[in-house]
């Protein structure tokens, strides 16, 4: 039996889909059978980030309306052995899928997969409720900005009442330099306010956007910190204990060099 995890945030544009794509890919790379489900009906983009857009024939709405079999709608990823995507419909809207239908779908998928990652639409309305109703666990993605944190807090409050219980937190797009200058909240502050367990911190990295545009999740090739952070999150989801990344690598190298030269 697999586990269904919903990735949500409340606010839009904080990196839900990017996070889903990367964690899903990382989980698949470590040998798990993974299915990504895009529930952002009408505004789908997980398929773009995965580079699978041109292979969509059937979608989520076709499946729940029983117009096709689940197997027909699942798109196999080109790069990973056991990674599949169930795309959202682009022509319908959120009302096209009900909570009961999604629960049925997720239960069917659990038979075949170890992890089902549900990419949730922004907002807290119908689409959010539908996406959450199918999940066993929840991950809340936020950026270290007041507006995003406020929305994440609201979503956490709503999730508390759901079957998922208290979610885990991913702090996305952290800029260490800005934090040091006092222009951005640091991770401790965010965790303090939201009062939930931290699942991981992903540093801000242009490479994430670049690879997203190419439809290649960054964890596939890149050896940068962001990719590593996503891989660590995937390991933590599987129950491993992985220490948080030290995000100030360059600085460390510099100080090490200084130490070699006898300055510090």
């Amino acid at each position: 039996m697999g586990e269904a995890i919903v990735v949500t945030s409340g606010k839009g544009g904080v990196g839900k889909s990017t996070t889903s794509a990367n964690i899903g890919t990382a989980l698949a790379m470590s040998g798990k059978r993974v299915c990504l489900v895009d529930t952002d009906i009408g505004l789908r983009n997980l398929d773009v980030l995965m580079g699978l857009e041109n292979r969509i024939v059937f979608d989520l709405v076709d499946v729940v309306e029983k117009k096709c079999k689940i197997q027909q709608a699942l798109i196999k990823d080109k790069r990973c052995e056991a990674l599949y995507l169930l795309p959202a419909a682009q022509t319908k809207d959120k009302a096209a899928v009900s909570s009961a239908q999604l629960r049925w779908l997720v239960n069917e998928l659990k038979e075949q997969f170890d992890y089902i990652l549900i990419d949730c639409p922004a907002g807290i309305e119908k689409g959010f409720q539908t996406a959450v109703s199918g999940a066993d666990k929840a991950i809340v993605v936020t950026t270290p900005e007041n507006a995003a944190i406020r929305d994440a807090d609201r979503v956490i409050g709503l999730l508390e009442k759901e079957r998922t219980g208290l979610p885990k937190l991913i702090v996305n797009r952290l800029r260490t330099q800005m934090v040091k200058e006092g222009g951005m909240m640091d991770v401790d502050e965010v965790v303090n306010v939201l009062a939930v367990d931290l699942l991981g911190v992903v540093p801000d990295d242009e490479e994430v956007i670049r690879s997203g545009n190419q439809g290649e999740p960054i964890v596939l090739h890149n050896r940068g910190l962001a990719a590593k952070a996503y891989r660590n999150i995937a390991r933590r989801i599987q129950g491993e204990v992985v220490p948080l990344l030290v995000l100030e690598k360059e600085k460390k190298l510099m100080s090490r060099m200084k130490r070699w030269l006898g300055f510090a």
């Binding site: 007041n146 944190i149 406020r150 929305d151 807090d153 609201r154 956490i156 409050g157 709503l158 508390e160 303090n192 306010v193 939201l194 009062a195």
Partner: protein, 225 residues
């Protein structure tokens, strides 16, 4: 013809006496008048038997002390009726029992509202967008980052205190105040509290509280030992 309303007051006889069932979906005043009508206008001899115990069930409603004494007075107009007890479903029947301070734990998150009758001690944070409302005072062992409204029914003696005092807005009784333009930026060190003075909200260090609320002050007894 309008809908036939179910009677708001049902009177049943049990082996222990009479059972008065008061419908909790209608306003107290309506129920009261109906009960009055039933007690006064029923055939006289019905209420003049031997002494009878009366049990009043008020459903999910809670009543005030004043409403309780009106009920008791009304029923005692018939000398043989003795109000034995008043019961509400699953909770105390009185609305404003001042049972000291109530302690609650947890985070009040954005969009959530914690409402409370009486004084409230919250063990946890109030986040931005979250709201705590009490008819008495509010004490927070944690960070107050959202909205706190003390003395919600007009008690201007209520105070708001928090370990970390960073509210987006404060309300005491009918006064609204928002930091930092209305009161000076407070020290985040130590515990602060807000109180009402001259119809304005002021914030001060906790150790100043006895100066403004002398009745609360604790004094060491001089006649010890």
């Amino acid at each position: 013809m309008g809908k036939v309303l179910k009677s708001g007051v049902t009177i049943k006889g049990t082996k222990d006496g009479l059972l008065f069932l008061l419908d909790d979906t209608r306003p107290f005043e309506t129920i009261f008048q109906e009960l009055k009508y039933k007690l006064e206008k029923s055939p006289g001899n019905l209420w003049n038997g031997p002494d009878t115990h009366v049990l009043i069930r008020i459903g999910k409603r809670q009543i005030t002390r004043e409403e309780e004494s009106r009920l008791r007075k009304l029923i005692s107009t018939h000398k043989n009726l003795i109000v034995h007890s008043i019961e509400a479903e699953g909770r105390p029947y009185l609305k404003d029992v001042n049972s000291g301070i109530q302690m609650l734990a947890g985070t009040v998150r954005s969009g959530q509202v914690l409402e409370h009758r009486g004084d409230l001690l919250l063990l946890g944070d109030v986040n931005p967008g979250g709201c705590v409302r009490a008819t008495g005072s509010i004490f927070i062992l944690g960070a107050l980052r959202g909205l706190a409204h003390a003395g919600g029914e007009g008690d201007d003696q209520a105070i708001i205190a928090a370990s970390q005092f960073r509210p987006t807005q404060l309300r005491i009784a009918n006064v609204v105040s928002r930091p930092p333009d209305e009161w000076e930026e407070v020290d985040s060190e130590g515990m602060n509290f807000a109180y009402l003075i001259n119809d304005q909200i002021a914030v001060d260090k906790m150790h100043q509280l006895p100066r403004f609320r002398p009745d609360l002050e604790w004094k060491d007894s001089r006649f010890k030992g």
